[in-house]
């Protein structure tokens, strides 16, 4: 009669995969089943043969060969540690101390930007005056520095980044977008407020106005909500009414702010 016992368990027994309880269960069955006894014996005979495979021994010279290779590698490394490697190492240590990978990228881009700009103007030669060239380079540097510092983990550095924008005459689209992102996403309320203050000076740009309106519903801090209400009122931006109404519907909006928003909506609707 054919036995219905799971034969995989016989293999598991040979491969030492079973717990004591499982082993006992298999042994109990095998003791009463001749078919499984035969199968287990066959498996174990084979398994014992596989155990007998001797471990090969490497030659005695293997260690010496390795030591020679190791020594050669060490010499090679020593030779590589030249003047330039030292400089590279110092730079990498310095940047590792000062910057995050994103900052490193930003600074790298800044250097490339400055070099590219100088090359461009060197080639053009006759276009702008030297003063214009320099001013353009400074502007580019400030913008890059702003974009880089806005990603810095320290809030004070991000505040510094926002303050740099005030020193730029014509602010680039990328910087404006970065400021709007900061306004909407920065974890620090002071950074968000400073970004808002800076953006409030750029409201002649329709995209900035639109960005500020969209930001209203995203703000959770009463301070930023209040500042946005003041700005919208000074701009007489009627399009912001809808966003303020959304804010009013939110149960978590501060009661004092709700009163201010209602007053702002009223004044905008006049």
């Amino acid at each position: 009669m054919k036995c219905a016992f799971d034969k995989e368990k016989l293999w598991s027994l040979a491969l030492n995969e079973l717990s004591d309880a499982e082993k006992a269960e298999v042994n109990l069955h095998v003791a009463t089943c001749s078919a499984c006894t035969e199968e287990l014996n066959s498996i174990m005979t084979f398994w014992n043969i596989t155990t007998a495979l001797p471990e090969p021994e490497p030659s005695a010279a293997i260690k010496n060969t390795f030591m020679q290779q190791l020594e050669a590698y060490k010499q090679e490394q020593l030779a590589k540690t030249s003047f330039w490697d030292q400089i590279k190492e110092n730079i990498s240590k310095f940047t590792a101390l000062l910057v995050t990978p994103r900052m490193a990228y930003g600074l790298g881009m800044l250097v490339i930007g400055v070099i590219a700009t100088s090359l461009y103007f060197q080639q053009k030669g006759n276009g702008k005056s030297e003063v214009e060239m320099l001013s353009s380079q400074v502007k580019e540097m400030r913008e890059m520095l702003t974009l880089t510092l806005l990603e810095h983990p320290s809030a004070s550095e991000r505040l510094r980044a926002v303050s740099y924008v005030n020193e730029i005459d014509t602010v680039d689209r990328r910087v404006k977008d970065a400021l709007l992102t900061t306004l909407n996403n920065d974890e620090n309320v002071n950074v968000r407020l400073t970004a808002l203050e800076t953006l409030s000076k750029m409201t002649t740009d329709p995209k900035v106005r639109e960005g500020l309106i969209q930001s209203i519903a995203q703000q959770e801090s009463p301070l930023v909500q209040s500042a946005l209400a003041d700005i919208m009122l000074s701009m007489q931006e009627k399009k912001s009414v809808r966003s303020f109404q959304q804010l009013l519907k939110k149960p978590e909006t501060n009661e004092a702010i709700k009163t201010k928003i209602q007053a702002t909506i009223h004044q905008l609707n006049i």
Binding site: E8, W11, S12, L15, E17, I43, F46, I49, T50, T51, A52, L53, P54, E55, P56, E57, P58, S59, I62, K63, T65, F66, M67, Q69, L70, Y73, K74
Partner: protein, 189 residues
């Protein structure tokens, strides 16, 4: 201190730049690695070269050692890559083991009559191992001859422990089938 901790500490020292510590790791692991390669290639010189390659590769990529897994797990991951490279360079697929050299080595060491039977078994077993697929052979070598736990093999092969168990069962059964087949052929000659 466990062997794992000692290995990891030595490797961390290598990572910090103390390359001489690799000589200690070499002493502790080169035999095991040599066996791993010899069972898979059947060629002494190649196996020794591969051992050297693995230790030098570990030095070169010491920065990638994190200690998340056992040192041995990391070492065998590098060993597998070295072996794959070797097979690729030599464009050998399927039956990758040099059974001729294995046969020669066994004949050389067979002196007394009482060892003849065991040597025959060994030869058949090596031939059977050689006829397995690279993957099945590797699984048997790691679990049976390197005595690795399924979990460790799973980490090296980047598979689940359950998948390793299923594959090992399949590989062992396949090995027995081939072993019995070769035995019968040998007996009928």
């Amino acid at each position: 201190m466990t062997n794992e901790t000692i290995d990891n500490q030595l490797m961390f020292r290598v990572k910090e730049g103390n390359l001489d510590q690799m000589a200690l790791l070499f002493d502790r692991h080169h035999r095991s690695l040599y066996g791993f390669f010899y069972h898979q290639t059947g060629i002494k010189e190649v196996s020794e070269d591969l051992v050297q390659t693995v230790f030098m590769n570990m030095i070169r990529s010491r920065a990638t050692f994190t200690g998340t897994f056992k040192f041995e797990t990391w070492m065998y991951t590098i060993a597998r890559n070295a072996l794959k490279d070797y097979f690729r360079r030599n464009k050998r697929t399927g039956n990758t083991v040099n059974t001729e050299e294995l046969e020669e080595n066994i004949k050389e060491t067979t002196t007394a009559d009482h060892t003849l039977h065991r040597k025959e078994e060994e030869l058949i077993l090596r031939k059977a191992l050689a006829r397995l697929s690279e993957t099945d052979r590797e699984l048997i070598i790691l679990s049976k001859y390197r005595e690795m736990k399924y979990q460790e093999i799973a980490e090296i092969l980047k598979l689940s422990e359950g998948a390793i168990k299923v594959r090992i069962h399949r590989a062992v059964k396949q090995l027995r089938e081939i072993y019995l087949e070769i035995s019968q052929q040998t007996m009928s000659v």
